[in-house]
């Protein structure tokens, strides 16, 4: 039997990958509802805008910020926040060169949100789908849900 699931999107901050000039068949994320528990699997997200264009080319800090903001937008579209993120995987194009700056920007962002506990994370180097991309982040999110009848959750 199928589980209850659907695609996540927030076209105000980023377009759908299947509407890119070079279409790619994936959702920005999947929402899964499991008996009062919701899991969001956020796809690898990067510094692209609502038209699918890469923004902040050559600007690591700008790309990280936009990536985090895009994820925030996807989370907001499902009524949750970074406080519900349990795990990230962070891909850097050049980890030796950029990891210090990546950590500074991420720490500042998490500090602004008073994120505690910090999500589990793996940070690795990879070449990304567009040559100009310096960073890409995927996330796993979990929270409890209540239906209108008050069932589920706490």
């Amino acid at each position: 039997m199928p589980i209850k699931k659907r695609a996540i999107s927030n076209t105000a901050v980023l377009n759908e990958a299947y509407t890119d000039t070079k279409p790619s068949s994936y959702s920005r994320g999947t929402r899964i509802d499991l008996n009062g528990l919701t899991v969001l699997l956020i796809s690898g997200t990067f510094s692209s805008d609502e038209h699918g264009n890469t923004v902040h080319i050559g600007d690591l800090r700008g790309q990280i910020r936009r990536t985090l903001d895009n994820i925030s937008g996807l989370l907001a579209s499902e009524g949750c926040t970074w406080h519900d993120v349990v795990r990230t995987t962070c891909y850097l194009r050049d980890i030796d060169r950029d990891y210090d700056e990546f950590n500074r920007v991420r720490t500042a962002f998490y500090n602004e949100l008073h994120l505690d506990p910090l999500p589990a994370s793996t940070g690795v180097q990879a070449r990304l789908c567009r040559p100009e991309l310096l960073v890409e982040i995927e996330a796993i999110v979990m929270f409890q849900t209540k239906d209108n009848a008050g069932n589920g959750g706490e």
Binding site: M1, P2, I3, K5, R6, A7, I8, Y18, K22, P23, S24, S25, Y26, S27, R28, G29, T30, I32, L34, N35, L41, I42, S43, G44, T89, Y91, A126, R127, L128, C129, P131, E136, E138
Partner: protein, 161 residues
């Protein structure tokens, strides 16, 4: 004291129900390779009526464990999809139950366009909706001749639930 004992009883950890996933008509076991590798083709987890399938990184390998379609990206991708379909079917699941993929390409700048073309055609044939979440990146894979590898998370309800 009584309370402490009760608490201890509650906190005993028990294993979940799990087993390996396989489909020998399509691909062999990695631990049966000429150079054995200790992983299952996938794991099935049974969590109170929810089934989670964690499909290992799967590539263009046949039932003898031999890489097939060397040098042919498109055919490697098709065989990879076929192998994953077989693993899903062995658990009575399908691509419609896939919630997330991670796609590893050996040369993403050269091959991503063909990859997208093939994946879109494959998903379209299946009428897949919603599309699974995905991360697509470049990595060096376990065999030099492999051009693509895909791992998958699938979730479904156990039959009768």
């Amino acid at each position: 004291m009584r309370e402490i004992i009760d608490q201890a009883a509650i906190n005993v950890n028990l294993p979940i129900i799990k087993r390996a996933v396989a489909n020998h008509t399509l691909l062999n076991e990695a631990y049966a390779y000429a150079k054995p590798s200790s992983f299952s083709r996938g794991m099935r987890l049974d969590l109170n009526g929810i089934v989670v399938l964690l499909i290992s990184g799967t590539a263009s390998i046949d039932e003898q464990g031999v890489s097939v379609h060397t040098g042919d990206f498109r055919s490697q991708l098709r065989r990879t999809f076929k192998n994953i379909s077989g693993l899903l079917e062995s658990e009575r699941a399908s691509w419609h139950d896939v919630v997330r993929t991670t796609c590893y390409l050996r040369d993403i700048h050269r091959d991503y366009a063909v990859f997208n073309e093939e994946r879109t055609a494959f998903y379209r044939d299946l009428g897949l909706k919603p599309l699974p979440a995905s991360t697509d990146i470049e990595t060096i894979l376990c065999r030099p001749e492999l051009l693509v590898e895909i791992e998958v998370i699938a979730m479904l309800r156990a039959e009768g639930q």
